[in-house]
């Protein structure tokens, strides 16, 4: 208990230190339009809620962003989970797809941006596709790992009870790899958000990412900082929601760790 209190105090101290450093850096720079301090940012953050014009802009931008994240992530789930299963279960699929999944996964996501700009333009479709491309490989790889590493003794048990291939899949491999699937989904969600924001930053006209870029370019760094805070809160809330869901789904899994000092 004591140690917990102590570490919370240190944590609070680091937060204070961070704000002070930020404040000092802004004071030294002394150009609020370019680099706003914590106070201006807090004021701008309050404006997001109190100023109806800004408020409605933010709500619209947030909607655009969230809808893109939703479609990109949903598409990645629908495509990623089956592919991950096929690759984990069937050698042929593994042989044909593994090098591709690994290769595409290794490509820095930003490389997709100019391609999409050419093909689908500065639209939400491009944003969704970029989010999808970034997030789907994290999901495939996690699902694949889970399926491939399902303990063979579990599969043998099912076989001993005359389980069909479909039953092995749904009753053994799926639940056994659920922890990995959940991890893949959580990673995939973070990636999807990242993808949407990257695309919006480049397009500079859409969603929250676009608004952050736009306000920074129009020398309103306080608003841009405040929007980053909004984005942070939304991202963390989404990750947390998925984490809670995943805890529910895999409540049977216990974790082990070493005794620490």
């Amino acid at each position: 208990m004591d140690r917990k209190l102590q570490s919370n105090l240190i944590l609070a101290a680091t937060v204070v230190l961070f704000i002070l450093t930020w404040w000092y850096a802004a004071a030294v720079k002394n150009q609020t339009q370019l680099f706003a301090g914590p106070i201006q940012t807090a004021q701008a953050f309050a404006q997001v809620f109190t100023n109806p014009t800004i408020s409605s802009q933010v709500v619209t931008a947030l909607q655009v962003t969230l809808v893109s994240v939703f479609y990109g992530f949903a598409l990645a789930i629908v495509v990623g989970i089956p592919i991950g299963f096929l690759m984990g279960r069937y050698v042929v699929a593994d042989l044909l797809l593994d090098p591709w999944v690994n290769a595409w996964y290794s490509i820095p996501a930003v490389a997709f941006v100019p391609l999409m700009m050419n093909w689908t333009g500065l639209t939400s479709t491009s944003t969704v596709l970029i989010a999808f491309l970034i997030s789907v490989f994290s999901i495939i790889i996690s699902v694949y790992g889970g399926v491939k590493n399902t303990s063979s003794s579990l599969v043998e048990t099912a076989r001993a009870y005359n389980a069909s291939e479909g039953q092995v899949m749904t009753k053994v491999i799926f639940p056994a790899s659920l922890p990995n699937i959940m991890v893949g989904l959580r990673l995939g969600l973070i990636r999807a958000i990242e993808g949407v924001i990257i695309a919006e930053m480049f397009f500079a006209a859409l969603g929250l990412g676009g608004m952050i870029d736009f306000s920074a370019d129009h020398l309103d760094s306080a608003l841009s900082d405040a929007l980053i805070v909004v984005l942070a809160i939304v991202s963390i809330a989404l990750s947390l929601a998925l984490k809670l869901l995943s805890n529910k789904a895999i409540a049977w899994k216990e974790s082990e760790s070493i005794h620490r000092l």
């Binding site: 090098p99 690994n102 290794s106 820095p108 100019p114 790992g145 491939k148 991890v183 980053i228 963390i236």
Partner: protein, 296 residues
């Protein structure tokens, strides 16, 4: 909030990512022969090229999609430092590649130097974990790209800004993987150190570090990938320098085949950096054996 957030990283985003990562692989010990793999690769690569050509034909507009051949030609030109007339003023390819590599190496090196000690301390000591984990879990959930304008207007479009962004993209992956490697190290190994009277320093150097090296190395490999993303992103979004800048200049000047060649170059860089060390990892950490499911 502070109490809630660490939970979101309890299993670590990094560890399972690491697990998932090592579970796949070029050299997977599932008994598939290299020859089979090569044949499968040639088959699927041909299919890929064919599809690409088909899409290019279908679009009928080489300004939107360039086929594989023109892109290959542009790649060769690019590597010989030929730049299309319309994109004059762009850097030559070799200086662009060099600059991007510098950003990646510096950003990555910085995150290793900063991330490994923090990760080890957070894995070993609860008090450090209590401080580090909330920060890491918050920052890890936020798209770092949102910070690019702040850095751009804060310190200006510069080499330093690019390095800083590459650093920010990669350091958290290193911290998380290192921390997980240390934290989930087998308890019995920790006990061995204590019964043989290891000092704290011996405990860290002779037990903790070797035991968590595979996780650290996996973390570093993924982190290089993140550093590349950060570097190219920063270059493309702010200074229009390096490979990322080149890619955007070609895009803006409708030099589509060159733009796609730059994309291929970046893709190859990512693949080389992430996949080649994976083979080495399998060889280096043979002592970490795994059991696998027999498949159909």
């Amino acid at each position: 909030m502070v109490l809630l957030i660490p939970k979101s990283l309890e299993e670590g985003e990094g560890l399972p990512e690491a697990e998932a990562e090592t579970a796949t692989g070029i050299e997977n010990p599932s008994g598939i022969s290299f020859q089979k793999k090569l044949i499968a690769f040639i088959v699927s690569f041909s299919v890929f090229l064919l599809l690409w050509q088909l899409v290019a034909n279908e679009s009928g507009n080489s300004l939107i999609v360039a086929g594989p051949l023109p892109v290959f030609q542009s790649l060769v030109n690019l590597l010989q430092n030929h730049i299309p007339l319309i994109a004059r003023g762009a850097e030559t390819a070799d200086s662009a590649i060099l600059e991007t590599l510098e950003v990646i190496v510096l950003g990555f090196a910085l995150s290793v130097v900063v991330g490994i000690p923090i990760g080890i301390a957070a894995g070993l000591y609860r008090s450090v974990e209590g401080v580090v984990e909330p920060w890491v879990s918050v920052v890890y959930s936020i798209p770092i790209v949102a910070l690019v304008p702040v850095i751009y207007y804060g310190i200006g479009a510069s080499f330093t800004a690019d390095v800083l962004i590459a650093f920010l993209f990669s350091v958290f992956t290193i911290i998380i993987n290192t921390q997980n490697g240390v934290r989930y190290m087998s308890n019995s190994l920790a006990e061995v150190g204590r019964t043989y009277g290891a000092t704290s320093w011996q405990f860290i150097t002779k037990i903790v570090v070797p035991a968590s090296t595979p996780d650290m190395v996996t973390g570093m490999r993924i982190a290089v990938g993140r550093a590349i993303l950060g570097a190219v992103l920063a270059e493309a979004l702010i200074g229009e320098t390096g490979l990322g800048g080149l890619m955007m200049i070609f895009q803006a000047t409708f030099s589509t085949s060159y733009m796609m060649a730059a994309v291929v170059l970046i893709a190859i860089m990512g693949i080389l950096v992430l996949q080649v060390p994976k083979i080495l990892e399998h060889r280096l950490f043979k002592w970490k054996e795994t059991e696998r499911l027999a498949r159909m």
